[in-house]
């Protein structure tokens, strides 16, 4: 569905400054995949999406989207995709219902199907009461839901979503995902989305592509990434004189990694936390060491990112700046 080779984009900001926003991304997405692109602010996510949706021309490299080259056959590409940008797609002086219906007509739906899909989307994204409102009078989250509705109205075979759920409250986020996933099922859509929400990438996407400084630094399933890069962590609180004993026991656990002692806490990295925890507690008790508290800390994508870059995703802000 998507195939890019060494895709790069430089922005010439001034005579002395060029931003290398995307530096050689090669990516293949198969039909039906749901891929989350994760990365800090300025990583190059939007720039990549804008190249794939024919909005800007790559500086170098190639990209085929839905079977067509984005530079030489951009109008063929545009007919086969949907795009929800990072900004607001709906015109501020327009009415909600008008924009949604119009978007369907733009994509060649006949009036009846366009009307029908408009009704459905208004209903399921809880915009029904707002159909007659002007877009400028909507709240940020309502506007975002309208943006996504406009991206879905023609049920594209390939949908790009740039931070679709930013600004939504938890209930609407869950509802939005329900709807997107249902439509994906029904129309066998391929979806590429960007997000900062780790839990979202984690729970929605089968595949997570981590981008930093314009490069892909990891590309796998969320589970595999977490397993490979971080592993689970056990936290045990034991009596102050028992750490060294517990430390020895922990070292014998299957797949045990790095062990830290912090006050009366013992932290152990293991491959499979839920399986290792009862073993460790049992061993401690057999050795007469009481365990006060015990926890399994499963790695998050934030841990993965920290592991890959040495920075936390929350704090990271890559800027691809370099002298020209």
């Amino acid at each position: 569905m998507i195939s890019t080779r060494e895709l790069t984009k430089d922005f010439v900001v001034s005579r002395t400054e060029t931003v290398h926003a995307v530096r050689g991304i090669s990516l293949d997405v198969e039909p039906g995949e749901l891929v989350a692109v994760l990365g800090p602010n300025g990583a190059g996510k939007t720039t990549t999406l804008r190249m794939l949706t024919t909005l800007i021309a790559p500086t170098s490299g190639t990209a085929k989207v839905a079977g067509y080259d984005v530079t030489t056959h951009s109008s063929q590409v545009r007919r086969r995709i949907g795009y929800v940008g990072q900004g607001n797609g709906a015109g501020h002086s327009q009415r909600v219902g008008d924009e949604l219906l119009g978007q369907g007509v733009i994509y060649g739906l006949d009036r009846r199907s366009a009307k029908r899909r408009t009704e459905e989307l208004l209903e399921s994204l809880e915009l029904k009461d707002l159909a007659q409102r002007k877009v400028s009078d909507l709240s940020g989250g309502q506007r975002r839901r309208l943006d996504v509705a406009m991206g879905l109205v023609h049920a594209p075979g390939l949908l790009f979503l740039d931070e679709p759920s930013t600004g939504l409250d938890p209930q609407n986020r869950a509802n939005l995902w329900d709807h997107i996933l249902r439509m994906r099922e029904q129309y066998s859509m391929t979806i590429v989305l960007t997000t900062h929400y780790l839990d979202e990438a984690d729970s929605m996407a089968e595949r997570v592509v981590v981008v930093d400084h314009g490069e892909v630094i990891a590309d796998d399933t969320a589970d595999a990434l977490k397993r490979k890069l971080a592993g689970d962590r056990l936290h045990l609180t034991v009596g102050p004189s028992n750490q060294s004993r517990v430390r020895e026991l922990a070292a014998q656990l299957p797949g045990a990694g790095e062990i830290q002692v912090d006050g009366d806490q013992v932290l152990v990295r293991v491959a499979d936390g839920p399986a290792a925890l009862p073993i460790l507690i049992g061993a401690a008790q057999q050795n007469g060491v009481p365990v006060a508290t015990a926890q399994v800390h499963r790695p998050t994508l934030d841990d993965v990112f920290l592991n890959l870059t040495g920075r936390s995703l929350r704090e990271a802000d890559s800027n691809g700046k370099a002298a020209a």
């Binding site: 109008s75 797609g89 733009i106 199907s113 029908r116 209903e123 809880e126 023609h154």
Partner: protein, 270 residues
């Protein structure tokens, strides 16, 4: 949470079918007209300045040169006001596009299968509608004050304004696209052109009494020909050569505006 199940109506990649430029233009124009039709009072927005000129400048004009204008001051001044309304309305219309650049609405349109030129042509053609609405208001308001109505002249006059307005609107959109990264430039450039064009067209005061250089400059101003043509038409003379010059000026403006506009629109993505 909603319990609605999405319908099972199957949509087979409808966008892949044949597309026509005319249909695209129609879609863009309809979208642009929606806010005007939903809120007709917005028509008055572009008319505030012209109506002030009509109400405050008209009487002054009548007092100072009513005698020398021949055929009454309104017959002379109402066509000016119509051209002025067109000028104010269409030269500012690019600001709407500028706003859509900022919000992301234009970006969304650029990713749709709509042809890029239709995004410009549809917008420019839409300018006709508010312009007609505004002209009808001005004419209706002025009839009780003694404006003589020559229906054929007025109809041709409105058509002429429409063609000119399409061209000027296209220029305004082109300007908006060109300055999209420094949006304050839009108003600076627009104002810089607006007032010289207006004054050097003889719209407000006859130029015959002005200095020679002004009369020469006015010959290079397409608006001069438009104003002359409108006055001739409002006097009921449809077949005069002034009207032909007016058409020439309007058609050249429209052709140039659309050409420049489409060319900038094609490069409006990044």
């Amino acid at each position: 949470m909603t319990t609605l199940i999405a319908s099972t109506v199957k949509i087979d990649a409808p966008a892949i079918g044949r597309r026509s430029l005319l249909r695209d233009i129609g879609i863009v124009m309809t979208r642009e007209l929606k806010p005007v039709l939903r809120d007709p009072f917005s028509l008055l927005f572009g008319m505030i300045q012209p109506l002030f000129f009509l109400a405050l400048f008209g009487p002054l004009l009548a007092g100072s040169m009513g005698g020398s204008l021949g055929g009454g001051v309104w017959q002379w001044f109402v066509p000016s006001i119509l051209v002025m309304t067109t000028l104010f309305g269409t030269s500012t219309t690019g600001a709407n596009l500028l706003f859509e650049f900022q919000t992301g609405a234009h970006e969304r349109m650029l990713v749709t299968p709509l042809s890029r030129s239709s995004l410009l042509i549809g917008r420019a053609l839409k300018e006709m509608v508010p312009l007609f609405g505004q002209a009808v208001i001005v004419i209706a308001v002025m009839i009780p004050f003694g404006l003589e109505l020559h229906v054929d002249g007025v109809l041709v006059g409105l058509a002429l304004l429409a063609v000119f307005g399409i061209g000027l609107g296209a220029f305004s959109y082109a300007l908006a696209i060109a300055v999209r990264k420094q949006d304050w430039m839009f108003w600076m450039v627009q104002q810089t052109f607006l007032f010289p064009l207006m004054i050097l067209s003889g719209m407000l005061l006859p130029l015959e009494t002005g200095p020679g250089w002004m009369q020469v400059a006015s010959k290079f101003n397409p608006l001069s020909y438009l104003v002359d043509a409108e006055r001739t038409l409002f006097a009921g003379d449809v077949w005069s050569s002034a009207v032909l010059w007016g058409w020439l000026a309007a058609l050249v403006t429209a052709a140039l505006g659309l050409t420049v506009g489409i060319r900038t629109m094609l490069r409006s993505a990044d």
